[in-house]
């Protein structure tokens, strides 16, 4: 876990618990309230005894009073599946500190909080890995192993391994944001909390992917990470901009006098995204990878009641 999050932050995070707006629907036992009845200390209801019920759950006091057999029902506590969609495309490598580093820190923090709360964390990393040469094969298989390990993590003691895997993760390639999110939706058996960590700068848009998550019943948290260079570019003049993922070329003549117009354009983009999310009950956060992560973790997410 070296370096990905400071011990101070981790200590603070341990106090938090993910707040799930809905009851957990997971089939696995956990510490979350669920609609399922089962074994716990939390009384839920009575029902009539039917043949074959476990006699241990009969309410003998009632039987003594009413001479009728009632079965005491308890709330079953289930786990909360937390799905983190981590954008590991080429574009996330930009910025200083890079957006990907920032994103992994957020993923580590959310995962840590979830693991502390005995929730299942599954990390969906997109795009899919693709080996481009034999020399990368070793690297490739190693990355595949890491990704596989991150697919399902449970228990606080797994957090160290979780952090190590996150640290060893490498980004690259071109992402298809919508397709990746849709596949994640299909793969998940139960809805839960979904956290999308991306820059949301996909030429194809972000709407279908987010809609798929919302439609599946996920409680979606979208965290947009932009690099300082994207918010406040420092390069002026006649530029020939090459897209890191698509390779598309955009010629721009940029001067200081147009900086405000550019920043307005970025703000407009973020605002549109924010409004889209708000209309669909999605928590939306836009952060600058150059800024402190603690503000996001300890204040913004808390204020938005993602955890508490």
């Amino acid at each position: 876990m070296a370096g990905i999050l400071t011990p101070q932050v981790l200590r603070r995070l341990e106090q938090f618990q993910l707040i799930a707006a809905r009851r957990a629907k997971s089939s696995a036992k956990g510490e979350r309230k669920s609609r399922a009845r089962g074994q716990s200390v939390e009384f839920a209801d009575y029902r009539n005894y039917v043949l074959g019920d476990d006699l241990r759950y009969l309410d003998w006091n009632l039987y003594g009073r009413l001479d009728r057999l009632f079965l005491k029902l308890y709330e079953e506590e289930r786990e909360l599946p937390v799905r983190i969609f981590l954008d590991a495309s080429e574009s996330m490598l930009f910025g200083s500190p890079s957006k990907f580093d920032f994103a992994r820190q957020v993923a580590a923090a959310i995962g840590y909080v979830a693991l502390c709360g005995f929730d299942r964390v599954s990390l969906h990393i997109f795009p899919e890995l693709q080996a481009t040469s034999d020399a990368e094969m070793l690297n490739f298989s190693q990355q595949m192993a890491i990704r596989g390990a991150l697919r399902s993590v449970r228990g606080k003691k797994s957090s160290l391994q979780y952090f190590a895997n996150l640290t060893a993760l490498k980004a690259g390639g071109a992402a298809d944001f919508n397709a990746s999110l849709k596949r994640g939706v299909l793969e998940s058996r139960q809805a839960g909390v979904a956290v999308v960590l991306s820059d949301f700068l996909d030429p194809a848009g972000y709407e279908p992917g987010l809609l798929a998550l919302v439609g599946r019943g996920f409680q979606v948290n979208a965290i947009q990470i932009l690099s300082p260079e994207e918010i406040n570019p420092g390069t002026f003049g006649d530029l020939r901009l090459v897209d890191s993922e698509s390779g598309a070329v955009q010629e721009v003549t940029f001067g200081k006098y147009r900086l405000a117009a550019y920043q307005q354009a970025v703000a407009n983009y973020v605002q549109r995204l924010r409004e889209f999310c708000k209309a669909r009950g999605v928590h939306f956060f836009s952060v600058n990878s150059g800024e402190s992560i603690e503000d996001l973790l300890l204040r913004q997410l808390r204020t938005a009641e993602m955890w508490g």
Binding site: D199, L201, G237, V252, R258, A265
Partner: protein
């Protein structure tokens, strides 16, 4: 290969500018960014949707449009047709007289006139068969360019014209111009002048389409209009210098006059010049050898050409006068008193033995056996080859007219003079009649070959003339006029622009002329020629001529009161009844494409600068 507008090559100077801008031009810097999505949004937003919105703030586009517009305008070759001259043939007469050197226009009237004339050339509608002639009226009328529609040649002709120090001789030029446009109803004369033209009466009745372009605005000038050197009547060893300074300004001014002999300052004097008046001044100077007196007027005015005059002064020589008479005490006394250098001898006849020994022979009612070859004052003799026969006689002819402007009649009046008997002759071709009776001229002065002759058609003793004061004055004038030294001195004092003529005693092959600006010109002289002629006297000052071993100096001067009055005339008087008003209208068909092209270039450079400034 020729170019119509060689000036256009100045545009080549913009080539380095383009190179500089090319060097300044920055290449696009390639940068890999995370995503171009935000940039696309940015571009899409700034280049807003509405078409007119798109034009807003786009100064580059506006500048480019402006530049293109200007270039298109330039290619359309626009011209302004204010008062377009329809004349198919235009005769440009450029006044190159001394007054055109006035600096009241910047840099001078002549340069301004030349500029206006070139503008007229540029406006020439060559497409419609327009032609132009360039005449320059300086010391003499010169056809610088015969009729052509070749603008470059016309411009060259005008640019080659030089202003002179001579008087205005426009009449000659107008005469030439008038013959050029005669029987051409579509032709016109454009005169570029300040209008200081004395005599144009001869054009009064001619149908001349004369357009007078007035040049000049001020009249601030004072100038020397007369300069002469005479023996000092009070002290024959010294010379008296008479100088007249005209002030054409409405206020009196103080001017300093400096007299120099051969470049050495002799005397200086400050004189007050009365407004619009001529002020005389006399200087006395001693002279030990032949040389040049120069008078310089030091004052602030617009014309420098008339602030200096020089005169060649030769040492006085004795005049040997032979009086052939049967006895005439009046004449004898008058001749003896005619001048300090007169050496008078009397004889009854002029014989072959006397030939060539006297500068001047006076025949007083005597027909000599041998006619003298020298200058002659002939009284009451009528050789048959002088006058057309018959020569008759008249009784008591009344004197009705005399030319008191002639130097011979200076201070001479014929009032109260009666003549008893006179010869009756017809006016001869060789001289001018100075004194007239109704039937016959009584006094004739003229030149036959190189011989100066004064003829008096009556016996002075048969008139009351010798009793009048005018008689000795006339005799003194006559001796002065007939003195070969006077003629020689006059020969060495010419008006700027006139030809200098010098009889050659012995044949020479080459003359070396030093002109006033110091340059030396060598002129071959034909061995048979008996006279040296130098015509390039447009500049005033002292010319020195080396002819073999013989060195002479002569001076060319302006000395013209009309030319010194540089106030431009609003109208030209052609005689008494015809006037030509100065035109202020702009003569047109001036092409403007150069200016548009220039503006287009300027806009382009500005646009480039703007473009780079906004990306910096």
């Amino acid at each position: 290969m020729n170019f119509l507008t060689p000036l256009a090559f100045w545009f080549a100077l913009t080539l380095p500018a383009v190179v500089v801008f090319y060097l300044l031009k920055r290449k696009r810097v390639t940068r890999v960014v995370a995503s171009t999505l935000l940039w696309q949004r940015f571009l899409a937003e700034t280049q807003a949707s509405a078409p007119l919105q798109r034009l807003r703030h786009n100064w580059l586009l506006l500048l480019q449009l402006l530049m293109l517009l200007l270039l298109v305008l330039a290619l359309a070759r626009p011209y302004f047709s204010g008062k377009s001259s329809d004349g198919k043939l235009q005769v440009v007469v450029l006044d190159a007289s001394a007054s055109m050197q006035s600096t009241d226009e910047s840099p001078s009237r002549f340069e301004k006139a030349r500029k206006e004339a070139i503008a007229l050339v540029n406006a020439l509608a060559t497409g419609k068969g327009g032609q132009m002639v360039v005449l320059v009226a300086g010391a003499n009328a010169e056809v610088r360019q015969s009729a052509t529609s070749e603008k470059a040649a016309l411009r060259r002709a005008l640019e080659g014209a030089r202003v002179t120090d001579s008087s205005t001789r426009l009449a000659e030029a107008l005469r030439v111009a008038e013959t050029l446009i005669r029987d051409r109803p579509d032709a016109e004369i454009h005169l570029f002048s300040d209008g200081a033209i004395p005599e144009l009466a001869e054009f009064e009745t001619r149908e001349m389409r004369l357009i007078y372009h007035k040049v000049g605005k001020g009249g601030r000038n004072a100038g020397i209009i007369a300069f002469d050197v005479k023996p000092n009547p009070e002290d024959p060893s010294k010379r008296a210098l008479f100088i007249s300074v005209a002030n054409h300004q409405p206020q009196s001014i103080d001017a300093r006059v400096e007299i120099a002999f051969e470049g050495q300052l002799v005397e200086t004097k400050t004189i007050t010049l009365a407004p619009t008046n001529t002020t005389p001044a006399v200087f006395i100077a001693s002279q030990a050898r032949d040389g040049v007196f120069t008078a310089k007027l030091i004052t602030e005015d617009d014309l420098k050409a008339d602030d200096q005059a020089s005169v060649v002064s030769l040492m006085p020589q004795p005049i040997r006068v032979l009086l052939v008479t049967r006895g005439n005490r009046f004449l004898e006394k008058a001749l003896a008193a005619a001048g300090p250098n007169v050496e008078l001898s009397t004889a009854a006849d002029h014989s072959a033995a006397d030939a060539g020994r006297h500068e001047l022979v006076v025949l007083d009612d005597v027909v000599p056996s041998e006619w003298p070859k020298g200058n002659l004052l002939a009284i009451n003799v009528a050789p048959t080859n002088w006058f057309e026969p018959p020569v008759g006689g008249i009784e008591a002819p009344p004197i009705v007219n005399w030319k008191n402007t002639h130097p011979l009649l200076r201070f001479v009046t014929f009032d109260n003079i009666q003549v008893a008997k006179a010869l009756q002759v017809k006016s001869p071709g060789w001289g001018v009649s100075l004194v007239d009776a109704p039937q016959s001229p009584l006094v004739v002065a003229g030149e036959m070959g190189r011989q100066r002759v004064i003829w008096i058609g009556f016996d002075t003793l048969e008139s009351t003339w010798p009793l009048r004061i005018s008689f000795p004055i006339f005799v003194a004038n006559a001796v002065d006029w007939l003195n070969p030294a006077t003629a020689k001195a006059e020969q060495f004092l010419i008006k700027a622009g006139d030809a200098f003529r010098l009889p050659l005693a012995s044949p020479v092959t080459e003359a070396v002329v030093t002109v006033p600006d110091g340059s030396v010109q060598k002129v071959p002289v034909g061995v048979e020629s008996t006279e040296f002629v130098w015509g390039d006297t447009g500049r005033q000052g002292v010319y020195r001529v080396q002819l073999g071993t013989n060195q002479v100096a002569f001076s060319a001067n302006l000395l013209d009161a009309a030319e010194s009055n540089i106030r431009p005339r609003e109208t030209l008087d052609l005689g008494r009844f015809t006037q030509v008003k100065a035109t202020t209208e702009r003569d047109a068909n001036l092409e403007w494409w150069r200016w548009f092209a220039l503006a287009g270039l300027g806009v382009m450079l500005g646009e480039w600068w703007w473009f780079h400034r906004r990306t910096a």
